[in-house]
Point group: C2
């Protein structure tokens, strides 16, 4: 995973909204798209960005493509942020 790709993926509001939607479980591309005012092609583009960033993965059932959160990458991002937590040499409290 590259942080560049991950943060790029997170930098778009539509993509963040998709991630939030997926918290409740997997959704098909069509179900995801129905919440947006953009074409299916554009939604598909955003899903591919999330997929390349490993933030989601897909599974196929019948002629549907389901998307699901890949929580392990979230853990890694949390670790990146943890780098910024605390310990400046002369912390007051």
């Amino acid at each position: 995973m590259s942080f560049a790709e991950t943060f790029k993926a997170l930098s778009d509001p539509a993509r963040r909204k998709i991630l939030l939607m997926l918290r409740e479980g997997k959704l098909s591309a069509g179900e995801i798209g129905s919440h947006f005012d953009m074409t299916g092609a554009t939604v598909s583009y955003h899903l591919s960005v999330l997929k390349k960033a490993d933030l989601v993965y897909e599974t196929k059932q019948k002629n549907f493509v389901f998307y699901e959160l890949n929580t392990s990458v979230f853990e890694e991002i949390m670790l990146w942020f943890a780098q910024f937590k605390g310990e400046k040499s002369d912390e007051t409290e």
Copy 2:
């Protein structure tokens, strides 16, 4: 603070590098710029993006402008990510 702005700010590698540099303490715009192969004007642009996202703040001393991490925003981002932690109804372990 808006997550849109924050994630946008984090999506650029130069800006992430700046943040990492600032972990050790405040640095002037010039010191920051010396680590990059870009003009001072471009560095200044990146600093302004980080500043608008509240990821850093500036203080002035003599004719220097010092930049410093604003750790409180990092806490808020961690909270955003925490939304994705755990509890899918049927968690196994």
